[in-house]
């Protein structure tokens, strides 16, 4: 059921011509002749085209800052923005000794009309004081919402003063919602500040254990990070910090001591990975812990990096044990999934990551895309130099860093590093496009209209996206699987997560509900059949 350019053309013709012109560049049919076709990404969404994208504030406070459990995250603005980022991402956090956990709290300056008129700095200052007095956090973030920039509140000045007054770190983030074109702007803003003000500010000079790593771009949705950590610890790794799922400011400050950074979600965290490498000499490895094969590959890549016989042996032992344990369960579920097709449209990495797991279940991803990715997430980092900055991306300052004179360490010889890069994705991400199959579709910033049209065209068996499109899809008679919040299930990462995912996806197919949509009395033959079969008469 491949889509042709002609199908696409018909689809586009239902849109106004301006929209057509724009959207054509965001949609590709994978074509073997062009190995890595160009796609437009990270550009403005057309007004009135219903998108799944959020704002810079969502990317900054909602995604990157929010999961850090030991900081108090203050939203400076009217109430809505704080409310909407209160516990909605399902980034779990555990209690730990000596680390406070404010994850269940939402803090807002709750700006009123008068604050808009007279400015909200005083209110923000008062709130910081109150928070410090009552909760005594070790650090605080302030995130700006739309009106803050417009009315000219100087949150940086407020933060500086508060930091001085209370002797704790207070970070200000100018992540007003209108900045950039999506959450992506917010990620960048958050990344920059962490590199500049948090990472490398801890006391440690050396890693406290062998095989120390940071886990970047893992937000512990539904406990994903815990499952990954379980496996890593079992093999013998020491996790210095996680950014930022179940993460802590305390641990991030010492992230510079790790010997390797793992990057799960490239889009939201690659700035940090890159800057750490520049500043402290730590290479980063693109990993994917979603799916059995991807998990195995990521673990083996890590073993290659560390090049330690014992670690490698332990890696293989854990892989063997885990696969033996979970594969039979997955196989049972996979029976229900054979030869099905999926759409997989998620934020900035899962649209790619989940394809392998789907494939392991026998499900082919025939349409995939990202909500807020950049071209490099599709085409690979090699094309970064050729991306032309536009007005929107220029608004987010690019942070310039240099090697830290005291703390920069080469983790291995440049030669060895270069050689390794040939074998594993070290400080590199090749993007989604290379993994897509012939005739399959890649869509950037898929919108509501296109969702429905592609469903009609391709009739997928399952649709993976978020809660906003989920119900449209289900109303169209197709099972949906939320890959933002996992429909309150999870974890889906690692070995155990693969089992959960297999179970949850297969239940969508096993549920007889989908066959019931037409009432029996709308279908006379079925009606009499029903009676013959069941009634006494």
């Amino acid at each position: 059921m491949a889509v042709t350019e002609k199908d696409l053309q018909e689809l586009f013709e239902k849109m106004p011509s301006k929209v057509q012109k724009n959207r054509r560049k965001h949609i590709l049919i994978k074509n073997g002749e062009i190995e890595n076709p160009e796609i437009e990404a990270n550009t403005r969404t057309i007004p009135g085209i219903i998108t799944n994208r959020g704002c810079a504030y969502a990317g900054c406070k909602g995604v990157v800052l929010g999961p850090i459990k030991d900081m108090v995250h203050i939203t400076h603005g009217p109430i809505g923005c704080a409310y909407y980022t209160w516990g909605t991402r399902r980034n779990k956090a555990k209690r730990e000794d000596n680390i406070k956990n404010f994850i269940n709290y939402s803090f807002s300056t709750d700006m009123q009309e008068s604050d808009i008129v007279f400015g909200g700095e005083k209110k923000l200052t008062a709130m910081i004081d109150e928070v410090v007095e009552i909760l005594q956090p070790k650090a605080i973030t302030i995130s700006a919402t739309c009106p803050v920039g417009l009315i000219g509140d100087d949150i940086n000045a407020v933060a500086r003063e508060a930091q001085k007054r209370h002797g704790i770190q207070v970070l200000a983030f100018s992540c007003e919602g209108y900045k950039g074109v999506s959450q992506s702007a917010g990620h960048h803003i958050a990344n920059n500040s962490f590199v500049e003000h948090v990472i490398g500010k801890g006391e440690q000079e050396e890693a406290p254990a062998k095989f120390s790593i940071n886990l970047l771009g893992e937000y512990n949705i539904g406990g994903d990070g815990w499952e990954v950590e379980r496996i890593l610890k079992d093999i013998g790794y020491h996790v210095v910090s996680v950014m930022t799922g179940d993460g802590s400011w305390e641990q991030m400050r010492n992230a510079h001591v790790a010997e390797l950074n793992l990057v799960q979600c490239h889009r939201s965290i690659n700035y940090i990975a890159e800057k750490i490498e520049t500043k402290y000499g730590t290479p980063w490895l693109k990993v994917n812990f979603v799916g059995i094969e991807s998990t195995i590959k990521s673990l083996r890549d890590m073993a290659l990096y560390f090049d330690d016989a014992e670690l490698t042996a332990r890696t293989e032992a854990v892989i063997a044990r885990e696969v033996a344990r979970v594969q039979p369960i997955i196989d049972q579920y996979a029976k229900l999934c054979q030869n099905k097709t999926a759409f997989c449209f998620v934020g900035g990495s899962r649209g790619h990551h989940f394809q392998g797991l789907f494939r392991e279940l026998g499900i082919e991803t025939i349409l995939a895309g990202y909500e807020f990715a950049h071209r490099d997430d599709y085409e690979g980092r090699d094309i970064i130099p050729s991306i032309k900055p536009d007005a929107d991306s220029k608004n987010i300052p690019d942070l310039h860093v240099e090697a830290d004179p005291k703390r920069f360490r080469l983790k291995m010889s440049p030669e060895k590093l270069a050689e390794l890069k040939q074998r594993i994705p070290l400080s590199d991400y090749p993007g989604m496009n290379v993994d897509m199959k012939e005739g399959h579709i890649i869509v950037d910033d898929l919108n509501h209209f296109e969702t429905e049209e592609f469903i009609k065209l391709l009739k997928p068996d399952i649709f993976s996206s978020g809660i906003k499109d989920k119900y449209v899809v289900q109303k169209m008679g197709i099972p949906a699987k939320q890959l933002h919040s996992y429909d309150y299930s999870g974890p889906y990462a690692g070995f155990n997560g693969a089992v959960n995912f297999a179970r949850d996806v297969s239940m969508g197919f096993a549920s007889p509900t989908w066959n019931f949509i037409t009432p029996p009395w709308k279908n006379s033959p079925a009606l009499s059949g029903e009676m013959n079969e069941g009634g006494d008469k």
């Binding site: 779990k92 555990k94 539904g222 406990g223 815990w226 499952e227 950590e229 379980r230 610890k233 079992d234 344990r325 979970v326 369960i329 289900q474 109303k475 429909d487 309150y488 299930s489 999870g490 974890p491 690692g494 155990n496 089992v499 959960n500 179970r503 949850d504 239940m507 969508g508 096993a510 549920s511 007889p512 509900t513 989908w514 019931f516 949509i517 009432p519 029996p520 009395w521 709308k522 006379s524 009606l527 029903e530 009676m531 069941g534 009634g535 006494d536 008469k537």
Partner: protein, 464 residues
């Protein structure tokens, strides 16, 4: 699979005469007398009242030692006298007990004689043999229904437009809902028995000794002239089936359908209505309710598929509940009834096979010690049934969704709505939300223990 029982520890059923009382409470101007020791009547009134939170007046012939020797005829007749004097009923049900059956009381003769000698031929007396050792309350309920029909239904040349709708032991709210559906579809009906007003009685002045409501006697008499009978019962034996009696004696076409709980069961009920009335299409309102249930099922199945249910209660209800569980992924692992009825087991096995659900232990004539043990062994995480299953909840921490009779540790058993598309959606919400509450309660803890701390058990078996 069934397990034999020698003795009963923590019963999952009540006795036959208790069940026999209920139908009489659903007939207009009816009273009922238990022919036996007065403790029977007292205990049954107590238990029925506790469920319905309603007055449950039941007479007793107060048999004592003398009666066991010389027979209870005099007592029964005196009881009839006194009940008639105070209640002025149009019909009296007389139910036997272990005692009166063991001493061999012929209540059919005694009551017939009473009507004759007392010149009370306008009064209907329905005698029902319900020894406590003769079956569970389910059989008592059904036998009383059948005996009422046998006594009252009259052969008639005149056909009328009504449909007989015979209902098993369901809640007053369910009866009301079935009447609402019949009205929506535009069907004239005789609903029998009708406890919707009598056992869920508005607080209003003036108070009357016998509650207003119930199936009118004239309607029961006219049942043979109906165009069809819909009987909500596919598990009962034919010899207990009032619908079968009407079919065999009077040629009234019989449609046996399950209690309309669950999408397909309600579809069967609606289809039968459509067939009887020759409507090829049901009203849009019905279709909207169906669509809404389906929508709820789609939304909820993600949570329900992690449910493993233990279901218990009366066979017909248990069957209907198991059906919706199969439909929505709350796959049953143990299903039991105190009734000796074993027909429901085959039906359940058919439904199970249809959706390829895991094997289920089906237990007729079981008790709660057995149910509790089997539920635990099978890893049930939700129980559905009446309040006597509360020990499963308390001891095994398996949350109980209350449904059926008796519900004595919560209020509103008579107001529980579970039939039809709308009622099913409400019932399903109660199930789903019980699973969600449990999941939420334990989510972070179990997540952390299972994943982060690296326990070895595979997560597929965990409620997370």
């Amino acid at each position: 699979m069934t397990i034999a029982r020698n003795v009963n520890e923590n019963p999952c059923n009540m006795c036959m005469p208790m069940g026999g009382i209920i139908p009489f409470k659903g007939i207009e101007n009816a009273m009922v007398i238990i022919h036996g020791s007065q403790g029977c009547s007292t205990y049954m009134r107590r238990h029925i009242a506790e469920h319905f939170n309603e007055p449950v007046d039941v007479g007793s012939s107060s048999l004592n030692e003398k009666g066991t020797v010389y027979g209870g005829e005099k007592n029964l007749k005196q009881a009839l006298d006194n009940i008639i004097r105070v209640y002025q009923p149009k019909l009296i049900g007389v139910l036997t007990t272990c005692l009166s059956e063991t001493i061999g009381e012929d209540i059919e003769r005694i009551t017939a004689e009473y009507r004759l000698t007392k010149d009370r031929e306008e009064l209907a007396i329905v005698a029902v043999p319900t020894p406590g050792y003769g079956g569970s309350h389910t059989e008592g309920y059904l036998l009383a229904l059948k005996k009422i029909v046998m006594k009252l239904a009259k052969k008639t040349a005149r056909k009328h437009n009504k449909v007989n709708v015979i209902v098993p032991h369901i809640s007053s709210a369910d009866v009301r809902e079935i009447k609402r559906i019949l009205q929506m579809v535009g069907i004239e009906y005789t609903l029998f028995p009708d406890v919707s007003d009598t056992l869920d009685r508005p607080l209003a002045k003036p108070y009357t000794k016998i509650p207003v409501g119930g199936t009118p006697l004239a309607e029961i008499e006219a049942m043979p002239g109906a165009i069809a009978t819909i009987q909500l019962g596919i598990t009962m034996d034919d010899e207990l089936s009032p619908g079968k009696y009407l079919e065999e004696e009077f040629g009234v076409p019989l449609y046996n359908v399950p209690i309309p709980i669950g999408l397909k069961n309600t579809d069967r009920f609606m289809t039968a209505l459509g067939q009887i009335t020759n409507q090829s299409c049901l009203p849009p309102g019905i279709e909207a309710e169906r669509g809404r249930l389906l929508d709820a099922m789609v939304d909820s199945h993600k949570y329900n598929f992690q449910g493993r249910s233990v279901i218990f209660g009366e066979p017909e209800l248990v069957y209907a509940v198991s059906k919706i569980c199969f439909e929505n992924g709350v796959f049953p692992v143990v299903i039991g009834t105190g009734s000796p009825n074993s027909r429901f087991a085959e039906l359940i096995e058919m439904d199970r096979a249809e959706v390829d659900a895991p094997p289920v232990i089906v237990l007729p004539a079981t008790d709660f010690v057995t149910l509790r043990r089997e539920a635990k062994n099978a890893g049930a995480n939700i129980a559905i049934g009446h309040s006597d299953g509360r020990y499963i909840e308390e001891h095994e921490k398996i949350p109980l969704v209350r449904l059926g009779f008796p519900i004595h540790d919560r209020v509103g058993g008579q107001r529980l709505l579970s039939v039809g598309y709308t009622g099913t959606a409400m019932f399903l919400d109660r199930i789903t939300n019980t699973l969600l509450a449990e999941k939420r309660r334990s989510y972070r803890k179990s997540m952390y223990e299972n994943f982060y701390q690296g326990l070895e058990q595979p997560p597929a078996c965990d409620m997370n």
